[in-house]
C-alpha cells in the first residue's frame, strides 16, 4: 500500500534528486575550469611575448629593414614578403575554391566522381604542410620551372589552402535553406539565377569568413614557403611597398622568425619576440576583422 503524500511534502527534493543536482554542480565547475585552462596559456603566451619583445616594439621595427646581419633594425622585408605570399596565394585559391564549391554543392549530381572529389577535398585538407612543401618544390619549382620564387611559394600555399576553402564554402552554401531554392525553381529561375539572387547573398558571410581564416594559416606556415621561394635575406629599401617581383625570392615573417631565433648568433634578444608579436598580431587582426565582417554581414542578412 502506498501512503498518501501530505501536501506540504509534495515536490520536495528526494535524496536521488539532491545527488543528481550535486553532480550537475560539480560538472559545471569542472567544465568551467577546463575552458579557463584553455584560455590561460593563450593569455600567458601573449603577455610573455609582449614583455620580451617590448624593447624592440614600435612602428620603426615594422617599417625598417633588417640591419647588421639581422641583429638590428626591423622586419619590413619579411612583412611585405608575407603580404605578397598570402595575397597572391589567396587570389589564386579563393576564386577557384569558391567556384569549385559552388559547382559541387549546387550543380553536381550524386555520382561516384562527385563522391571521389569530396573524399579528395576532405583528405587534402588534412595533408601536413611539409608534404605540401615537398609537392610545391617538385611541381612548381622544378616541374613547372618557376624556380624558387614568390610564384612557386604562392602556388604551394594556394594548393594548401584550397581544400579548406572548398570545404568551408560548401558548408556555407548548404546552410542556405532548401526552401529558398525551391521557391526560385518554382518561378522558373535557372540554377545560376538562383545562386546569384538567393544562395550567394545568403552565404557570403560564411564564405568570406572561411577565406579569411585561411589568411592566418597561409601567413603562419613556414615549410611550404621555405621549400619554394622564401630566403633568409633579401635587400630591399626601407618602407618600399613593391620591392619584389613574381619571379623573385622574398623574405617571409614565419621564415624570418625561424632565422633570427636559430640561425643567427648574437641577435638582440627582443628581436625574435618582436617578430613573433608582429606575426601573431597580424593574424589576430585578420581574424578579428573576419569576426567583425561576419557580424556586419549577419546584421544585413535577410532571414
Amino acid at each position: 500500500m502506498e501512503s498518501v503524500t501530505p501536501p506540504s511534502e509534495r515536490f520536495t527534493r528526494t535524496h536521488q534528486v539532491a545527488r543528481r543536482e550535486r553532480a550537475q554542480t560539480v560538472a559545471k565547475w569542472v567544465f568551467g575550469a577546463m575552458s579557463l585552462a584553455m584560455v590561460l596559456p593563450l593569455v600567458a603566451i601573449i603577455v610573455y611575448l609582449l614583455y620580451k619583445a617590448w624593447p624592440s616594439l614600435g612602428w620603426e621595427f615594422l617599417a625598417d629593414i633588417p640591419r647588421k646581419g639581422m641583429r638590428e633594425g626591423g622586419i619590413w622585408s619579411a612583412f611585405v614578403g608575407t603580404l605578397y605570399l598570402v595575397g597572391l596565394s589567396l587570389a589564386i585559391s579563393a576564386p577557384i575554391g569558391v567556384l569549385a564549391a559552388i559547382y559541387l554543392n549546387e550543380y553536381a549530381r550524386e555520382s561516384w566522381l562527385n563522391r571521389l572529389i569530396n573524399m579528395a577535398v576532405i583528405n587534402l585538407a588534412g595533408v601536413p604542410s611539409i608534404v605540401h612543401a615537398l609537392f610545391g618544390l617538385g611541381a612548381f619549382v622544378y616541374g613547372a620551372r618557376f624556380g624558387f620564387s614568390i610564384l612557386s611559394a604562392s602556388l604551394t600555399l594556394a594548393i594548401m589552402t584550397l581544400p579548406v576553402i572548398i570545404a568551408s564554402t560548401r558548408e556555407a552554401l548548404s546552410a542556405v535553406p532548401r526552401a529558398f531554392r525551391d521557391a526560385c525553381a518554382n518561378v522558373g529561375a535557372t540554377r545560376w539565377q538562383t545562386i546569384r539572387a538567393v544562395v550567394l547573398p545568403n552565404s557570403i558571410s560564411g564564405i568570406l569568413t572561411g577565406i579569411i581564416l585561411q589568411v592566418s594559416r597561409a601567413a603562419g606556415e613556414t615549410a611550404p614557403v621555405m621549400f619554394t621561394g622564401a630566403v633568409f635575406f633579401k635587400a630591399v629599401s626601407r618602407g618600399d611597398l613593391f620591392p619584389y617581383r613574381l619571379g623573385d625570392q622574398c623574405m617571409a615573417l614565419s621564415m624570418h622568425l625561424y632565422t633570427v631565433s636559430t640561425q643567427v648568433p648574437n641577435v638582440k634578444e627582443s628581436i625574435p619576440y618582436a617578430t613573433a608579436v608582429v606575426l601573431l598580431g597580424s593574424v589576430l587582426l585578420v581574424n578579428a576583422s573576419a569576426i567583425v565582417l561576419r557580424i556586419w554581414l549577419r546584421g544585413r542578412k535577410k532571414w
Partner: protein
C-alpha cells in the same frame, strides 16, 4: 472564366520510382480547367509526388524515374522541346510551409518578373502595377501597401502563404499547385487561404493536396482519392463524399485510417 469542360492536366499511365520504390502506380487522371481539384489520401500515398510531377520538380533528384505521360493544356510536358523554365512559369506551386524569399515583400512579388526579363525592360511603374495587382488579388494589398519594404520573412505565416501565391501571379500561371497550403496555419489563416482559392478559381486551375476532409469538401469541385500510389476514386467532390463508389474511399472519409 475558364470553366469550359476542357482538361488542364491529363496523366496517362503515370508511374514514378524513387530508386526501387514505386511511389506512383499507373495514375491516369484528368483535371478540368478552371476548377479546384483536391487530392486526398493518407500520408505517404503519393499526393505530393503526383503534384510535383506536374511541374517536373521531382527530376531534381537523380534517383527518380518516371514512365507514362502528362499533358498540360494539351502539351506533353515530357516532349523534348519543353523548357522547364517556361513550364514552371505556367505551373506554379505553393508549398506546405510558406517559403517567401528573404527579401522585401515587393521584391518577392516581382522576383519572377525580374528573373524573366532583361533589366532595362522593366520599368519601375510596371513593377509597381504588378505588385499592386498581385497583392490585391490575394487580398494582401490593404494590409501591406505601406509595408512593401518589410522583410517577407517577418510577416505572419498566413500573410507569407498568401504572398507565396501572389508571387506566382505576375507570371500569369495557368495552373497553381498547392501542397497542403494550410497545414502551417491556424483556423483563421486556413479560412483566409480557402477564400483566396475561391477568388482565384475560374482564372486559374487549382490542384490542392489536403489532409483535411472538410477542407476538401468546402473548397473543391472535384476530388481524387489516392491510396498507396494509386488513384482509387476520382469524382465530383459531393459525389465522392456522399456516395463513394469504392469501399476504401468510404473507410478513409469516415476516418478509419490515416
Amino acid at each position: 472564366m475558364r470553366e469550359n469542360g476542357r482538361n488542364a492536366i491529363v496523366t496517362r499511365g503515370l508511374s514514378l520510382w524513387y530508386g526501387s520504390f514505386q511511389a506512383l502506380i499507373d495514375v491516369s487522371i484528368e483535371v478540368k480547367e478552371g476548377q479546384i481539384t483536391s487530392l486526398i489520401g493518407p500520408s505517404g500515398c503519393g499526393k505530393t509526388t503526383l503534384l510535383r510531377c506536374f511541374n517536373r520538380v521531382n527530376e531534381r533528384y537523380d534517383y527518380v524515374r518516371t514512365s507514362g505521360g502528362i499533358e498540360i493544356l494539351g502539351k506533353n510536358i515530357y516532349d523534348s522541346d519543353v523548357s522547364l523554365v517556361e513550364l514552371r512559369k505556367a505551373v506554379g506551386m505553393v508549398f506546405q510551409r510558406p517559403n517567401p524569399l528573404p527579401v522585401s515583400v515587393y521584391e518577392n512579388v516581382v522576383f519572377g518578373l525580374r528573373i524573366h526579363s532583361k533589366r532595362r525592360e522593366l520599368k519601375r511603374s510596371e513593377l509597381d502595377t504588378a505588385v499592386e495587382k498581385a497583392l490585391t488579388e490575394v487580398g494582401l494589398w490593404k494590409d501591406l501597401k505601406d509595408r512593401l519594404d518589410a522583410r517577407a520573412t517577418s510577416l505572419q505565416l498566413e500573410q507569407q502563404q498568401k504572398l507565396c501565391i501572389a508571387r506566382l501571379l505576375p507570371l500569369k500561371p495557368e495552373v497553381i499547385l498547392m501542397d497542403e497550403p494550410c497545414s502551417a496555419l491556424d483556423v483563421e489563416g486556413t479560412r483566409a487561404i480557402e477564400e483566396q482559392m475561391f477568388e482565384l478559381k475560374g482564372r486559374y486551375t487549382i490542384v490542392i493536396v489536403t489532409h483535411n476532409m472538410s477542407q476538401a469538401r468546402r473548397a473543391s469541385d472535384e476530388s481524387i482519392f489516392m491510396l498507396m500510389g494509386r488513384v482509387v476514386e476520382h469524382a465530383k467532390t459531393e459525389d465522392l463524399f456522399l456516395n463513394p463508389r469504392n469501399p476504401k474511399t468510404l473507410e478513409y472519409i469516415e476516418g478509419r485510417y490515416g
